[in-house]
Symmetry: D2
Amino acid sequence: MAGEHFEMLLDEDKPKEACGVFGIYAPGQDVARITYYGLYALQHRGQESAGIAVGDGEKITCRKGMGLVGEVFTEDTLRMLKGHIALGHVRYSTAAENTIENAQPHNFYYKQGMIALGHNGNLTNYAELRRKLADSGAVFQSTADSELMINLIVRAGTEDLASGILKTMEQLEGSYSLILITEKKMFGIRDPHGMRPLCLGRLGDGYILASESCALDTIGAEFIRDVKPGEVVMIDEDGVTALQPHRDCKRALCVFEFVYLARPDSVIDGLSVQQARYALGKELAREYPLDGDMVIPVPDSGTSSAFAYAMERGLPFREGLMKNRYVGRTFIRPVQVTRDLGVRLKLNPIREMIFGKRVIMVDDSIVRGTTSGKLVQMIREAGAKEVHLLVSSPPVTHSCYYGIDTSKNGELIAASHCIEEIREHIGADSLGYLSRSGLHAALAPFNPDILCDACFCGDYPIR
Amino acid sequence: MAGEHFEMLLDEDKPKEACGVFGIYAPGQDVARITYYGLYALQHRGQESAGIAVGDGEKITCRKGMGLVGEVFTEDTLRMLKGHIALGHVRYSTAAENTIENAQPHNFYYKQGMIALGHNGNLTNYAELRRKLADSGAVFQSTADSELMINLIVRAGTEDLASGILKTMEQLEGSYSLILITEKKMFGIRDPHGMRPLCLGRLGDGYILASESCALDTIGAEFIRDVKPGEVVMIDEDGVTALQPHRDCKRALCVFEFVYLARPDSVIDGLSVQQARYALGKELAREYPLDGDMVIPVPDSGTSSAFAYAMERGLPFREGLMKNRYVGRTFIRPVQVTRDLGVRLKLNPIREMIFGKRVIMVDDSIVRGTTSGKLVQMIREAGAKEVHLLVSSPPVTHSCYYGIDTSKNGELIAASHCIEEIREHIGADSLGYLSRSGLHAALAPFNPDILCDACFCGDYPIR
Amino acid sequence: MAGEHFEMLLDEDKPKEACGVFGIYAPGQDVARITYYGLYALQHRGQESAGIAVGDGEKITCRKGMGLVGEVFTEDTLRMLKGHIALGHVRYSTAAENTIENAQPHNFYYKQGMIALGHNGNLTNYAELRRKLADSGAVFQSTADSELMINLIVRAGTEDLASGILKTMEQLEGSYSLILITEKKMFGIRDPHGMRPLCLGRLGDGYILASESCALDTIGAEFIRDVKPGEVVMIDEDGVTALQPHRDCKRALCVFEFVYLARPDSVIDGLSVQQARYALGKELAREYPLDGDMVIPVPDSGTSSAFAYAMERGLPFREGLMKNRYVGRTFIRPVQVTRDLGVRLKLNPIREMIFGKRVIMVDDSIVRGTTSGKLVQMIREAGAKEVHLLVSSPPVTHSCYYGIDTSKNGELIAASHCIEEIREHIGADSLGYLSRSGLHAALAPFNPDILCDACFCGDYPIR
Amino acid sequence: MAGEHFEMLLDEDKPKEACGVFGIYAPGQDVARITYYGLYALQHRGQESAGIAVGDGEKITCRKGMGLVGEVFTEDTLRMLKGHIALGHVRYSTAAENTIENAQPHNFYYKQGMIALGHNGNLTNYAELRRKLADSGAVFQSTADSELMINLIVRAGTEDLASGILKTMEQLEGSYSLILITEKKMFGIRDPHGMRPLCLGRLGDGYILASESCALDTIGAEFIRDVKPGEVVMIDEDGVTALQPHRDCKRALCVFEFVYLARPDSVIDGLSVQQARYALGKELAREYPLDGDMVIPVPDSGTSSAFAYAMERGLPFREGLMKNRYVGRTFIRPVQVTRDLGVRLKLNPIREMIFGKRVIMVDDSIVRGTTSGKLVQMIREAGAKEVHLLVSSPPVTHSCYYGIDTSKNGELIAASHCIEEIREHIGADSLGYLSRSGLHAALAPFNPDILCDACFCGDYPIR
């Protein structure tokens, strides 16, 4: 998917990935500012909008905007956000539209006060739940899951918010890692399948919830544990209370967190993302023991497995593609110049490395295949004698309904083409994907049974 | 210097590096847009301001602003810049102050029309030349070299601009790679020592000048050759005319272009930057054949030599430090939280990799040493048993006067401390710098005699 | 109140006035653009936020922001708003807080599609209605009346929106002039007392609803009639349908629309605002036939009645106070310089006019009295021999609950002081307010029985 | 010209009027902030750009930008401007282009330090002077008079800046009221004809220079006297020193300052602007003793003379045209709706006033005549029985070269058409311009010999 990433960027066909959530309960600390830094560490999970809501015991104040954390917040806005509980969110749109109304946290007044919610995931029965609520007179200002969930929780009608949350979880289907704050408390909620990550940490006397452990490291917090699938943790003046609504579910943590999504320095449900990527590259070497003059990665997410492949094969690893780190959201697309400019602006082959060589290029995944083809061509034009493409994950043959936009089935090149057809389309001398069994073998230390790999096999954990 | 980079960023003690220049003469092409993409490829050379001036045969129009290329230019501004000659500039302040008045290109009316100039370098006799001009009644609106140079060229008093340029070059001391445009012509100028890079390319029927060859690749132009030290190339309807003011000078290309400054996919005066970095890492391995469990780079600029070191030593290379690519200019500095947050926001150790291991960390350079110390400590805290620091360039003992701000002498840790003192300050188990002879050996294929390494030895090519 | 206006501005104790609404149903016309111009004509009714929602038969698209119409909308935003129905709103906060969440139109998804609403007025039973809804599980994202009203209308539970509106009106107390649009229809709604203005016009084949008739003039539309108190007009492909929920109510059009609020070129419920102001000035002359050397107005809203006073008295009218029209929202308040600067920045006496003269100054109203005192002092310092202050409306002794912030009772100078005390406080040689009977006499042609003047007498039309 | 004003605004054919300058020398006071308020009072003289330069004894710091004073400056920018001398400028482009390079103050380094200059006026020998300087090697970054003047002053080559100024004044032709500051001193300079106003005031122990006396009133300063034609005042620690370069010149204060340009509360060279406008209206009544039912002004600048006309004639004065004060620079022009919208958005007739009446409309001037025609038509459509147009200044038959853009000769309707033709073009029942002798008679108390009225007669004070 990394290979596709810049292509889509330029095509404004952006990848709809995950979101990032960060929460802190820490009386006496500058919670908004800590959340700001926590969101920086989670920025890779969403670059479309950013928001922070702060509870001070009496009310919730919220600021959010379109863009990166560093663009949305200034000293002034941070200063306005006073309190002892904070909830931060960075968003990549999944189902909902790309407007400020869908930016999170979503902040509401309800009968007992105020409530704010940040969500990572995708409800598969959203339409059905919303229809039911609308029929009973509810109105909505956005198409976001989080607005729906707040309506459900509040209407659960129990005096106790925790009970409302548990009752609501019985209705929800799909993936969700949530943080919810009131003026006084913080809740962390993870869906029964554990599809999206969520972990708990400690900072001084306070507590942190975050999508990935790298956010704990960044702010100097100590990792306590992952929130368990189906668990609700409530954090208030009495510390952390765990509420587990004993539902016996198949675990289904998204495999793409390890392949591409999460930051390499995070550890999710016990497995280091970086180590997982190395393992995938090593396994790839076992399945495809190619000979070549060098191994080059598609930066950045292909780097770890490319490197592991090279190590295992005893081949030279070379950074043969230079990535321009300044091409971002404000970039003006090249319409009037040549189309190929798009790829070259983002990645440039290092001719001196490649010329006359047999190149093995390693990428983490292929979704639609258009970018891979351009890269292969670019490397050939830089003088490579042979170009072999290896992919450190299996072919993506099925769409994801849980929050990762792997495009519609029709756009997934591997959904309708065999490997040889894809190879021909891409123009590589050879093409190899890691097998599903190889993927599982590589992640064995982690117990692959807790992973969802429906996008590789169509075996969805929930309807 | 890369190691110091983020430290300075957080301290707002920004590194004052080079600038990037890009010029195009191409009737019939959208020269402003091509320049925009060219500047994207040179953005690593300066992030403080960006500007584009366009000549259309009758006048020059200029737009510039503070910030990144993507922030300064919009479709609207590009559309306003019509013509057949363009000059672009990205700037890192060197001697001059950080204000819009110093942003380039500098655009002037003179007796024969208009003239715009973009500059990479630093004049060592700026103060003296400016005093002379001021005494004769000249006024200045900025403290930029480029404003001074335009005054000199115009006052050279010859009817022919090219002669004015040649006459002016006799007065200039220091480093300069310039692009100058009038309404009708483009000039590329490189100082007699060749201290800063400048190369020439072809795009269709048009010609390109650029600080680095990566800009040519990016826009799909063909590399022709480097502009020679002391050479003036004039580009107009008659094509390229080379004017060489036969001054016999010691060549002195800045060695830091290879160590840290230039983009790895560029080739400067015949040597690939990426290959140079590999060579430095390989030489480092010969000088310091350490044993350890892994080699980790300080990303990004330490990566190539760290990798080459690991290859040469047969040791595992590991990405042990995760870099947050979102920490940028708009970042709010952590003043109220712990100070150490600063480093961790930018680089996070991957504990699972490092724990219990003997780590060899490779950086490209050390300027003040403060960041290196924090990194060593961070890696120890992540559980490393030993931390050895190797640096792929010699100790920086002397300030640079030619456009690289290696800080004042007093701040250069190696100017006043021996290696053992620095090691102790940094807290590493061992510390090794590449020797000067090692540096030269590594760059032998390139002929190190053409390099300036005054910052390592004080042997300045010009007074 | 005009006299107080700039004072409050400088004190950031802004007057909370009315809002302005504008709606258009006009297939084939550029409804967003026409609404943009319509809002310009209503800008005096609210400068805090502006918004436009457009229905295209299938969905509603909405853009809003803080600030003036000209600041919120650009060509680009107007271009995005495609459709055949539009609703525009300019807002001055009344009960609700000053945040983007309270900016209107409020835009909602409900069971049958989308709905947007813009409101001018203030519900007096807001808290009670909201509590009821919250108890039944509703959540709110703002503290605006309009969000509450949409919830009520949608929950009225009838399949037919018009019926829902009529049912909801039975519950609402207070003032409201509303425009509501769906993807396909437009509704205009005026409270049974007719407290806020709302009129209907025609533009080509389309229809317009607007707070004031000046908006019809501005866009070249033809005035048809005022919407009647308690009336609901529905506009769709069948034209205008009037639904009147036969409630027999005391009419109570806010008298301040004539005194100060509305634009002089508007005609409300049959009376020209300009003519009403002239009549007030004329009546003032009958009640206070003062002798003086000149009559000067407090610009702008005191001008008409000052002029009529001068005419009736046969005295010279002089523009003795110069108003600075550039002091606006972005103005930096003078804290470090002298306090009096505040008044002088906004109004400057023309010394040459005033010196040695007996001055009769006419203002439209006095709320807190602080500014009046400063003006009298300023005019004295400019050399006036005598300064008499006449006010073209009665003393404001009671707070308004229907959307005009006449400050809290405690701040109303006339609530706790007799005329002589106020005169002394202000420092005028004499002070005269128009009597209530004089006000009624002046507005006789209009039938003063339909006016609400509770702020002058405490006789509130509704509890 | 006021009548044309909004027309041009909508046509983006903006009137190029005067500029405003403000200077303060006041150790111990917050000079930047006082200048900010002073510029607010002069904002009517220029709305295109604003700037403030501050000297602190050692250097000059300058901030400027496009737009209104309130848009360009924030608390932060004011706080950066520390010192004891300040120079402020608001600009309407005259000869030069509309870009930030032309925004003033212009700030320069010269041999003895720094110098900043703000200018109101227009040099008639600009091109010639610039050519001379360019021939001697000078370069320019703008097309502004002020950059040229600084070059001349600095090159005058005397050690003493005051002498340089006096020597430079011998070369300058045209109109100029200048304020110049160095790090330590302030200079006020007025051209020998006194074409543009400039006055001197006192604030505590400090001194003020300003284009108009209203700026002194606004900041609470005391008026001392006008700067004399041809005078240079130097203000430093020794107070005010007057340097008069005894040139015997015809005085030529621009008559349009009284007709339209200056603020009514200013007094220029001894005459109150407001009183002058009343006198013009009174004289107009003597020349055109029309009968009618009412007199209405074209607001705002026609108001004073319309009122005086009505008084003198004993006719009712009515505000028959309502002006929308919110139509400003960011306004989106009505291209897709009807063209007439343009006028109506800005001015709306009050039908109830006008219907069936014989209307005498008074404007201050007519330049091109297009707007007058639209207004007459609008008033007729509002039901007026007759529409007579009176203009309180003579026909503008000649272009101005001294800083007022009365359009090119070809566009001046009175340059090529007789009164009857203009009347027919405009569609009025009758049309009357004040005669030149009437203008002089009206301004007799002021001694009309010191006025320049070349735009009415072509009798230019300088070639």
